[in-house]
């Protein structure tokens, strides 16, 4: 077996181009004759558009055309990909999401019109000459106030600002209430999961192109899932059949969820390219990204945990208001429901759970999935309330968790999912070891001597990854399947191109996917190229999010490679005049069992394409196979996270001095890439818990609309991480036994950090039971001094 393969920390082959500036991103694409689009966006949160006067602007130098909502009268709105049914059996309220604002603007950043000109500067100059008359309306911002009787409506044609009132599992509602009313102890916690801006390093870009001679449209876009964009935009917005619409997502500089969705700018550039007969390009500025990329999180929650006298969890009830923003982004309705409610059991045997979620329209940027997507919100509230319960009942937080851990698998939770496998005591044991939990008191004493307050916080998470079984999500309201695809094309000399429906935007698929195929065949991984991101090259695929790529996309690739191997064995059997059942493949050599006969991989692949000596009567020439894989279940990564902090009592500043992560991701393809994924997730989770905060003022103006006020975590905000993934319970239902690792860090870390700060403050005698994220110095100081 050559070096590499499954389990090797192969260096990321894509880094050579990324680190030497040779990556080809969407903004690097400049087409002949391309025009530039500048979006004119609302600077008020809510208002009625009285008039748009384009006359002066239209005659400015270089202006080709100015588009307004009237240009899109024959075109659909931006579709929502998930329909949630509420607890009364009614479908959610679903407002139209126009490409350009129709009659009203509904958030700061809502696009009103677009100037297309020869140069971007000309487009911007012309935009300054537009006269747009808007009457400001009251901004709807607070979710609870938005649901009050008589509240101003974000959408005049809806009944109210309520998107849906979801209950899960509705049949348990009364039983949960009864268990809470009769319990020995009930711990209650009210909290906010702060709104975040994803901030991928590369802002969004779209380039539309149209060839009238073939009637073919091409969209180059910064997307995590080009086929999804082709489907949504082609079928629902612009009415372009798939064979006339190609969507390319080349190198993409980070997504974190925000590049899953179909955005107005993509539809616009595709539409406008045909309208003006020239390619049209739009590149978001960073300021635009803050007000036009979908935001994340923004839940306000009350959670109650009922316990018996021994600390056994009896029932859990949670009541959440989830901010949808002004419109429904592609997957927005599913995040606070099916990706959130189904995770409320966590790692615990709680027998009765009821989740109520009210999704609310407000005059803010739409909210959708952001790394973790619903699961961080579930984990945060659960791991915070468990920690609070432990403190209230005088039980060690580790011990309380252990008393309630699920230990038998498969385990059917009361919230409709079945965990296939896991070992939560093992990850907890590992965490306590790698974090030197036993030595904490000594370190705390040292901190105290230095005038600092030290605390240790634990969180144990579960997540549902490998999204998702299509028949199940169809029942839950998804308007798409969630399989994945792969085509394995073996070339005549034995090199291999794998066309995957997954999309890599930083995850290292080009390396780790090649390792899998190399391992299965026994050839060097450098013989294999991974092709992704172009609907004209890859089979229909659903893209990358929800930690699904290796579990679903990798499984499709395994299935296609199995087909390749089966066919190659037939060819090898023919070449060696042996029975197919006797052929073995090892280290790239086909041999006949029990003999010294063998043929090399390259001999077989050559025979497939030069079929002179070939069983043409039985099998076709060539060696190319496609597989679609639809998972039987979600995968359930889990892990124990430990955060150690020091708090400066004079300023409230929190320093994360150590962070340990003991994860169970099932089998591991490339440990180095897995560790990198965990590091990145931890940085984002710690960022949310410590410093990131997307805040609006009472007029709906974004207070944190640039990096001057929106704090991104930097290397010196973070400690050296201690990560471990040696606790392995392989997934039982996919061929690789993998679970996915992309989101774990962002899911498990926020509660661990907040638990650590509360621990530090309580150890110092402060009666602080909760601080809302981010735990910025002023908030911690205020909590200590209130």
């Amino acid at each position: 077996m050559p070096d590499g393969g499954i389990g090797a920390s192969s260096k990321r082959r894509e880094d050579l181009r990324f680190l030497t500036g040779r990556g080809k991103y969407t903004d690097d694409i400049n087409l002949q004759g391309q025009a530039h689009a500048h979006f004119v966006r609302s600077d008020v949160a809510h208002g009625r558009i009285n008039s748009i006067d384009t006359s002066a602007a239209s005659s400015m130098p270089g202006v080709i055309r100015i588009f307004t909502a009237t240009d899109f009268e024959g075109v659909g709105g931006i579709p929502c990909g998930w329909q949630v049914t509420d607890r009364f059996g009614e479908v959610m309220q679903e407002p139209k999401h126009p490409i350009l604002a129709e009659g009203k603007v509904r958030h700061v950043g809502d696009p009103i019109c677009v100037v297309v000109a020869d140069t971007l500067e000309q487009a911007r100059d012309a935009a300054d000459a537009l006269v747009i008359n808007i009457t400001p309306l009251e901004a709807v911002l607070d979710m609870k106030a938005a649901l009050a009787e008589g509240a101003t409506k974000v959408h005049d044609d809806l009944n109210s600002n309520l998107c849906y009132d979801w209950g899960f599992v509705e049949e348990n509602r009364e039983a949960v209430a009864e268990a809470i009313n009769n319990a020995h102890h009930v711990t209650t916690l009210e909290l906010r999961n702060n709104r975040l801006v994803a901030n991928p390093m590369e802002p969004r870009v779209a380039v539309g192109d149209y060839d009238f001679s073939t009637d073919e449209h091409t969209l180059y876009t910064t997307s995590q899932n080009p086929h999804v964009i082709r489907l949504l935009m082609g079928a629902f917005v612009l009415g372009i059949p798939e064979h006339k619409l190609r969507v390319v997502a080349p190198d993409v500089g980070g997504g974190f969820g925000a590049k899953i969705y179909h955005y107005a700018e993509e539809a616009f550039c595709t539409f406008a390219a045909k309208t003006i007969g020239r390619p049209v390009k739009w590149t978001s500025t960073r300021s635009e990204a803050f007000i036009s990329d979908a935001h994340g999180r923004d839940h306000v929650t009350k959670i109650e945990l009922a316990l018996d006298e021994n600390g056994k969890f009896l029932a859990l009830r949670t009541d959440t208001h989830a901010n949808m923003g002004a419109y429904l982004s592609t997957f927005a309705p599913s995040i606070p429901t099916w990706l959130h409610g189904t995770l409320m059991a966590g790692n615990y045997t709680t027998p009765l759970i009821y989740v109520n979620v009210k999704a609310v329209f407000t005059n803010t940027v739409p909210v959708d999935a952001y790394r973790g997507a619903g699961r961080p919100e579930a984990t945060f509230q659960l791991e915070r309330v468990v920690d609070k319960a432990a403190r209230e009942m005088g039980i060690d937080p580790v011990e309380l968790r252990r008393r309630n851990f699920i230990t038998e698998f498969p385990y059917a939770t009361p919230v409709a999912v079945e965990y296939d496998t896991g070992d939560y005591h093992a990850t907890m044991d590992k965490l306590l070891q790698i974090s030197d939990h036993a030595g904490f008191e000594g370190r705390a004493a040292l901190s105290k001597a230095n005038g600092k307050l030290r605390g240790f916080g634990i969180a144990h998470y579960i997540e549902a990854c490998g999204i998702a079984p299509s028949n199940l999500v169809g029942q839950l309201g998804a308007r798409a399947g969630l399989y994945e695809s792969a085509t394995v094309r073996v070339n005549a000399t034995g090199s291999i191109s794998v066309m995957t429906g997954s999309h890599s935007h930083g995850q290292g698929h080009e390396t780790s996917f090649a390792q899998v195929v190399a391992d299965m065949i026994g050839v060097d991984e450098n013989q294999i190229d991974i092709v992704h991101g172009d609907t004209s090259k890859t089979p229909m695929g659903m893209g990358t999010y929800g930690s699904r790529s290796i579990a679903v996309g990798g499984s499709a690739m395994v299935r296609a490679t199995e087909k390749i191997i089966n066919k190659a064995k037939k060819i090898a059997a023919h070449l060696m005049e042996a029975a197919e059942g006797d052929i073995e493949l090892k280290d790239g050599q086909f041999s006949v069992a029990g003999t010294d006969k063998s043929v090399a991989w390259g001999d077989v692949t050559l025979a497939a394409y030069v079929p002179h000596n070939y069983p043409l009567e039985d099998i076709e020439p060539g060696l190319e196979e496609t597989a679609f894989y639809d998972p039987a279940n979600f995968t359930y990564p889990s892990g124990a996270y430990g955060c150690e902090v020091e708090v400066d009592p004079a300023t409230g500043k929190v320093t994360v001095v150590a962070f340990s992560a003991a994860d169970d991701f099932g089998n591991i393809i490339n440990p180095m890439i897995v560790e990198g994924q965990v590091h990145g997730g931890l940085a984002q989770g710690i960022g949310q818990a410590m410093i990131e905060n997307c805040a609006y003022d009472d007029q709906g103006q974004l207070l944190s609309g640039s990096y001057m006020d929106y704090a991104m975590p930097r290397a010196d905000d973070l400690p050296m991480f201690t990560v471990d993934h040696s606790s392995i319970t392989p997934c039982t239902h996919n061929p690789l036994g993998v679970k996915g690792c992309g989101e774990a860090g962002a899911i498990g870390s926020p509660p661990a950090l907040v638990n650590a700060v509360v621990d530090a403050l309580q150890r110092a005698g402060h009666n602080v039971t909760h601080i809302d994220m981010p735990l910025s110095p002023d908030r911690v100081w205020a909590a200590m001094n209130s």
Binding site: I691, A695, Y707, D709, M712, S776, P777, D778, W781, A782
Partner: protein, 261 residues
Amino acid sequence: MHNFEFVKPSSVADAVSALAGEGAQALGGGQTLLPTMKQRLAAPEKLVSLSGLAEMTGVSSAGGVMTIGGATTHASVAADAGAYPGLAGLAAHIGDPAVRNRGTIGGSLANNDPSACYPAAALGSGATIVTNTREIAADDFFQGLFSTALDEGEIITAVKFPIPQASNYQKFVQPASRFALVGVFVARYADGVRVAVTGASEEGVHRWSAAEAALSANFSAAALDGLSVAADGMIADLHGTAAYRAHLVKVMTGRAVAAAS
């Protein structure tokens, strides 16, 4: 960014005449002005670059006074102001390396951002701002947010810092911008202690006279024990309340005194 004319004079005199016209704007390191122009919030017709003017660049010390040319970058001050460690330390922690290699002391003082570091050093040192026409005492120079005693077209050619016996700057950073949420510069001279505060007040950089009196009598953090800072007039924003900033002024002052060398 709108189009503009770019002028790179070779002497202060040439710069002064270039700035005399309508719509001209001096350009220091451009660390504030250029982002503002990119956002189309400023649109000068002509930029007069002061960078690279030899007569405005460099650090020198004589007779207990350090003179820093107005076009000297933060990185140069960090490297060359060793005779005034409190000042060199402040310069070494402004922004990031890219900012420090472009931004200049003259540009920073002329801009007088209420959260910038240099105004605290200038005021806390009782520095003299030297321009092409006159010398202005720091106490008279800073006149509130983004406002100074400079006249239209007047150029900061140098800043003269009396070198103190001991000094220190403590910056509590705003987590996003890493400007000073509160920064305090403390300098101890033979005739007394000066304390200048940046980042905190709606009036911009200012002296904390009660602390100066207490520390002049007893240069130790304990001397501040009985003092408090009023929250009135302090900045309140996403990153801290007025009360929090007032509290931090005292904490950072104590730390600066303790660390002064």
